[in-house]
């Protein structure tokens, strides 16, 4: 896999640059408060002392990378992975809801797209409302959804996955409507001359033609799904999951913990998007795809 090796250098370079910028930002953002502190304490630290101080505040505005890394390392590797203090545990909780939600969302999105492409009545009546559905601020509804489900005794994975589904079906639906309608007119005409049924045209022409659109939308959808799962974890009382970590971190201004959780969330996201990407590439290769 030299493709992988090709990636490592650029990614690390870019990350290194980010880290440097991050340290600089940490000074800029933590600086004013540190100065206030020093002034109240009547100290006048040297320049280097000041730098080090801005990078080692217990509750900094922007924690320095090494602070986040330490916390991340501690909560990932130095505690049992299934304990409530472990980021692995929280990531897993979120990941499972994300995957279930993403699965439902993708299926739902495809089903809706198929309906819209095949039935004029659906195209005309459903599409505007699907769009409307996405303009409803989900975080406003999430608590109500969770409350309603909790009232009828459903808690845990399912309500969270539902929110994920809600966020992730839309990109898939929009992308697939486009993709399923993307075949060349001549290719459709060909099917027409065979008097192919709608199902045959669908499977033999529309589906293969929509594959690039599907995977592009699925990448967006899986990220949206993760956001959904995290958002849905907030009103459940901050018990488990990356969302819960973020929330409890923010109650106590534990910025370092917040950032560690953010890093965990991002890693999960990268993992998911990469998985979708690999699946996409495999599919394309299997379809005789030509190098772009």
């Amino acid at each position: 896999m030299d493709r992988l090796r090709d990636k490592i250098i650029p990614v690390t370079t870019l990350l290194a640059l980010l880290v440097v910028a991050w340290y600089a930002f940490a000074v800029v953002l933590n600086g004013p408060f540190q100065r206030d502190l020093d002034r109240r304490a009547g100290e006048t630290p040297s320049y280097t002392e000041f730098l080090v101080k801005t990078w080692s505040q217990p509750k900094p505005t922007l924690p320095a990378p090494h602070q986040v890394a330490q916390n991340f390392f501690k909560t990932t590797f130095q505690v049992k992975p299934w304990s409530a203090r472990s980021l692995v545990y929280h990531s897993w909780v979120t990941l499972s809801a994300t995957m279930v939600g993403f699965l439902f969302g993708t299926v739902l999105g495809i089903v809706i797209a198929v309906g819209i492409v095949h039935f004029v009545a659906l195209d005309r009546s459903l599409m505007p409302w699907i769009i409307t559905s996405q303009t409803i601020p989900i975080l406003a509804l999430a608590p109500m959804v969770i409350v309603v489900f909790a009232a009828i005794g459903i808690t845990g994975l399912f309500p969270k996955a539902l929110i994920s589904t809600y966020l992730s079906f839309f990109p898939v639906a929009v992308g697939m409507v486009k993709g399923l309608r993307s075949p060349e007119v001549m290719h459709l005409d060909l099917m027409h001359t065979y008097n192919a049924s709608a199902a045959q045209t669908f499977w033999k022409l529309r589906v293969p033609a929509s594959i690039p659109y599907l995977f592009a939308s699925m990448k967006v959808a899986v990220a949206a799904s993760l956001v959904g799962a995290i958002v849905a974890e907030l009103p459940t009382g901050a018990i488990a999951g990356i969302g819960a970590k973020l929330l409890s971190g923010s109650y106590y201004s534990q910025t370092i913990e917040i950032w560690a959780a953010l890093v965990a969330g991002s890693l999960v996201a990268v993992l998911l998007v990469a998985l979708v990407g690999v699946a996409g590439r495999i599919t394309e290769r299997a379809m005789g795809g030509r190098e772009a």
Binding site: F33, L139, A238, Y252, S253
Partner: protein
Amino acid sequence: ADKVTLQLKWVAQGQFAGYFVAKDKGFYEEEGLDVEIKPGGPDVAPEQVIAGGGADVIVTWMAAGLSARDKGVPLVNIAQPFAKSGLELICPKDGPVKTEADFKGHTLGVWFFGNEYPFYAWMNKLGLPTEGGPDGVTVLKQSFDVQPLIQKQADCISVMTYNEYWQAIDAGFKPEDLVVFNYTELGNDLLEDGLYVLEDKLKDPAFEDKMVRFVRASMKGWHYAVENPEEAAGMVLDAGGQDENHQKRMVGEVAKLIGDGKLDPALYERTAKALLDQKIVTKEPEGAYTTAITDKALK
């Protein structure tokens, strides 16, 4: 055992130590109760949860409770563990605000989501408009931490004595660096954490009896927590609380606010009046509390 579901106003923390203790130490069990404690969060309105049938009893602030009652959720206060208010407004000493007279033209951080009523009542009393401008104050909807103070986005921010105040201290402010406006000391306090149930359920004697036992056990838990803050903090942590030191301190601070559990009618009147003045409730609330439960429970 009889099942009771308690919906908290916020996440598991020292603020609710009494209930966790009562559950952990088996006080509920002794009363024949099986209590489930549901933590809340920033977007969970306990009033909504109880209206939806998701809880039997909730912890909320009187102002929010009365407001919900006005909107058609017939909540009734059955006990008031918090006798005093923990709400404060703090400002850095080197900032522009030192006394109430300095508020004019400055930005004040306030919590919303049902926690804003005491602030508006206070400003009402001071005669300060809250729409900004040089003669009024600019209100900032504040997050549940002390960042606005650190970032200097607000000149003063809201804190709870038992929680965010200590975050400010942790962040490097010393007590002498801060100007503190304590709502209780200024006589502006509105009733905070109380226990509320739905009025029609209370008509059922079996439910009433359940609540009597619940309140009794809960207050027992509170008294235990007040006496053993360290141990109580441990139980909070077991229930999902975060940050050990912080929880210990919180239980200690909360202990200072706990009363005998009975509602003080004078405070109730003040709360009701403040809400009426601000037109948060449209009509004088009636039957919004009962002393029947505490009378039976706490002899």
